[in-house]
């Protein structure tokens, strides 16, 4: 076996080791270790990505000495490796963008605990991406939930603790439904490895027995993961959690944690239940309806909001709606569009969060729009970055958001029954996006005399470099969409 194929297992365990060691380090040491580990995980994922793209195959990695169906397994192809690489890159950039805020907002004796949480979050995301075992997925969903709570409440601000509380209650409800789903699935199939469950489910569907429990299981698992990834009617926890936590946490929660659950859902659709069976169940229409409702309602809530961080958070609800609408189309093209939107939204949303903090910093830490007037002149880098993010969200060509909207529209064209609602809602949602994002951009570029001091780019080099990296990533996703969609299609073909 090639040595490269060990890297997924190594990267999961490496992140866990880093978390364990960080718990006894001081804040600075933990920070350095974390940066090193995230970069190393990124490099390892890159190596796996290059290898899997070159061979175009899917690999099974047995965790232990017992081959399937006895032991745990990892399974990875091009799609998984690429996702892991992308997650590592976004995590590194989000942390660098909020580094100064982390130092300011977190008590000195608890800074190392923040990096413990970040490392465990990374390990759980990697495990969710790579695992081929349903129960392993559940265990790492738990780790993911608890560490996300830690990331929200680390600032010990009253609002954050309340938000973490809400997040925990909703998220545990989701975990519970997911666990019940796994239990019923085990009862029906007698396996926990995804590929074996899939074989049994195909037999069950062919025989026509257990059709009611199967439908309920699919519904439970989908609803559980939808609650955790903040699909529209279950998004009540989201604005507080993203709006008040420290900026790196908000960026990671919106672009990594919810995306990890969505990736797990894709895995369940393809690998556990099987895409044709999933597409034939009624659950997919429910997803479609919730998705388009989320696209509208999220944007409407964002328009009403007078707090820039909460506005960006509500925009997340709308964007998650896009992703679920893509699932709801029930076609390969819709799935490709959704996966592209996962990447594009993660890159854009973390950029928006990080640059919004740059803007509020030069407005006396006020987050309402009146105080933000003219903020782009006071912090030019953050202003440019926010504008790029906003344009990308709205869907202007050359930025990543345009490509995902184009892919969604193309996918909708093939699906005759759902074409009209999908296209109409896509158009309406884009217009709503323009209303609240352009309002913000115009507001921050309105020249006005205020007493707030301006910040030069030289004073905070790390922040500016991070923003440049984010912008480059965004433009790269927008300009080089062809190879990326090809990679997604290649990955999806060997995914199941």
């Amino acid at each position: 076996m090639e040595f490269v194929l060990n890297f997924p297992c190594f990267s999961i365990l490496l992140a866990m080791f880093a978390a364990i060691i960080s718990s006894v380090l001081k804040g600075r040491g933990a920070k350095i270790l974390n940066t090193f580990v995230v970069s190393l995980v990124g490099l390892m994922s890159l190596a796996v990505l290059i290898f899997t793209v070159r061979t175009g195959e899917c690999y099974v990695y047995v965790m232990g000495h017992f081959p399937a169906p006895l032991g745990n397994e990892l399974r990875f192809g091009a799609l998984e490796a690429g996702m892991a690489l992308f997650f590592a890159v976004i995590m590194l950039l989000s942390l660098n963008g909020g580094r100064r805020k982390i130092k300011l907002e977190i008590a000195e004796n608890k800074e190392h605990l923040y990096y413990v949480m970040v490392n465990l979050l990374l390990s759980s995301l990697l495990a969710l991406v790579y695992t081929n075992d349903l129960f392993t997925a559940y265990v790492f969903v738990e780790i993911n939930t608890i560490s996300a709570c830690g990331l929200i409440m680390i600032t010990e601000h009253g609002r954050c603790i309340e938000a973490a509380m809400r997040y925990m209650i909703m998220s545990l409800l989701g975990s519970g439904l997911f666990l019940i789903g796994i239990c019923i699935l085990y009862d029906l199939t007698g396996h926990l490895l995804m590929s074996y469950i899939h074989t049994s489910i195909e037999a069950i569907v062919e025989a026509g027995t257990y059709s009611v429990p199967l439908l309920v299981t699919i519904a439970l698992i989908v609803v559980g993961l939808a609650i955790k990834s903040a699909l529209f009617p279950f998004h009540a926890w989201l604005p507080d959690a993203y709006g008040y936590s420290t900026v790196s946490s908000a960026a990671m929660l919106s672009s990594l944690v919810s995306k990890g659950y969505i990736f797990l859902l894709i895995k369940l659709m393809y690998r556990v239940i099987g895409f044709p069976i999933f597409a034939n169940s009624k659950v997919i229409d429910v997803l479609f309806v919730f998705g388009i409702a989320g696209m509208i309602m999220g944007s409407l809530s964002a328009i009403r909001e007078n707090d820039i961080r909460r506005m960006i958070s509500y925009s997340s609800v709308a964007q998650i709606g896009y992703i679920y609408m893509g699932f709801g189309l029930g076609t390969m093209a819709g799935m490709v569009a959704s996966i592209f939107h996962i990447l594009s939204h993660a890159a854009t949303k973390s950029l928006l969060f990080v640059s919004a903090v740059g803007l509020t910093d030069v407005s006396g830490n006020h987050k309402d729009f009146e105080q933000l007037t003219g903020a782009a002149y006071r912090n030019k880098a953050a202003g440019v970055a926010f504008t790029v993010g906003a344009l990308s969200m709205v869907g202007i060509p050359a930025f990543s958001g345009f490509v995902s909207k184009l892919l969604f529209a193309q996918a909708a064209m093939d699906q005759h029954e759902k074409m009209l609602p999908a296209l109409i809602v896509l158009a309406v949602s884009s217009v709503l996006n323009v209303i609240y994002f352009m309002k913000t951009v115009i507001r921050i570029y309105t020249p006005v005399q205020t007493g707030y001091p301006s910040v030069r780019a030289k004073e905070n080099k790390l922040f500016v470099v991070t923003l440049i990296c984010f912008i480059v990533l965004n433009v790269l996703l927008g300009m080089c969409s062809q190879p990326i969609t090809e990679w997604i299609v290649q990955g999806l073909n060997v995914f199941a």
Partner: protein
């Protein structure tokens, strides 16, 4: 022939003390147990008045359901919907369960090759007499490593919430009630004196025999943690810190988790690459057998014990 004792001599006997206690003349606690009353919390009149005013304002404007009909309506709607929703979910789940295969049927889907192999080949594959331990620590080693990390992340989260700065504890010693707990409780101390060693020994026994008899790292560790908690409750933190302080806690926890991780990493690497496992399985039934399960049980046990002690210490005084 019995001799009448002097009063002073009689007062030294056990019978005298017993009858005095029985008649309620002397309280055994007085003089033996330190009970300090909690300092009364006094508030300035202005703050009280302000708070009352604010409270009145809020309840008048926001919470007064008498005049806020929308709120009252919403409240009722919310309650009705939550009840309907719960009943609906319960009904759906019960309806689903009625379609599931009957428990204990031989033809059930979960009576397949997997469980059969665990039972028939478990002792040869993992070297453990206790099938459950072999299953969770060898067959599904990755899951259990994840579970142990769940405990670790839970402790870290509690630390984020409850850990207090050492200097702050000293500063606000008067205002928090952590220093005003009953100390030197004779009954508790005597009982702990007898029970704590037994609990520790039993916990260690459960951990070391995890691969032979029911039990293992999780249950044995919980017992040791309970023993530590009992000891702290009886004798206070100062005495406990002579053998278990923050330094020891950190060393034990990090070493246990790191060694566990290393074993697991070695096991996965050799397994996936088709290399031989150099950790001997030993003769099944012996104490030194079971391959990786014995050391893993020990590490899991120390991690669980540390976690339980840390929860108690953090909740009681905001530090380890």
């Amino acid at each position: 022939m019995s001799r009448r004792r002097e009063q002073s001599e009689y007062e030294k006997t056990f019978a005298f003390r017993f009858f005095r206690w029985l008649s309620g003349e002397k309280d055994a606690y007085i003089g033996n147990m330190e009970m300090r009353p909690q300092k009364e919390y006094e508030e300035k009149e202005e703050t009280v008045a302000e708070r009352m005013r604010e409270k009145g304002k809020f309840s008048a404007e926001v919470y007064d359901k008498k005049y806020n009909r929308e709120l009252r309506f919403f409240d009722r709607l919310y309650r009705a919907f939550s009840i309907i929703f719960c009943i609906a979910i319960v009904a759906v789940l019960i309806f689903t369960v009625s379609f599931l295969p009957e428990v204990g049927n031989e033809a059930n889907p979960d009576n397949n090759i997997v469980s059969e192999t665990y039972i028939s080949r478990g002792i040869y594959d993992t070297g453990t007499v206790n099938i459950v331990t072999g299953m969770i620590l060898a067959y599904r080693a990755f899951d259990t490593f994840g579970e142990t990390n769940v405990l670790f992340v839970a402790t870290c989260c509690v630390m984020i919430l409850l850990m207090v700065d050492e200097d702050k504890i000293r500063e606000n010693k008067e205002s928090n009630d952590r220093g005003f707990e009953p100390k030197n409780d004779v009954i508790l101390q005597k009982v702990a004196h007898v029970l704590a060693p037994v609990i520790f020994l039993f916990g260690i026994y459960i951990i070391l025999n995890g691969h032979l008899s029911p039990g293992g790292g999780f249950s044995g560790g919980a017992m040791i943690g309970a023993g530590l908690t009992l000891y702290v409750a009886a004798f206070g933190f100062e005495k406990t810190e002579r053998f278990f302080n923050e330094r020891v806690y950190r060393i034990v926890k990090v070493t246990a988790l790191m060694l566990y991780g290393c074993i697991v990493l070695y096991y996965f690497y050799t397994g996936a690459n088709g290399l031989a496992n150099l950790i001997p399985l030993g003769e099944a039934g012996r104490i030194l057998s079971g391959g990786i399960t014995l050391p893993i049980n020990i590490f899991v046990g120390s991690e669980v014990a540390c976690t339980i002690y840390a929860f108690y210490a953090l909740f009681r005084r905001g530090g380890l």
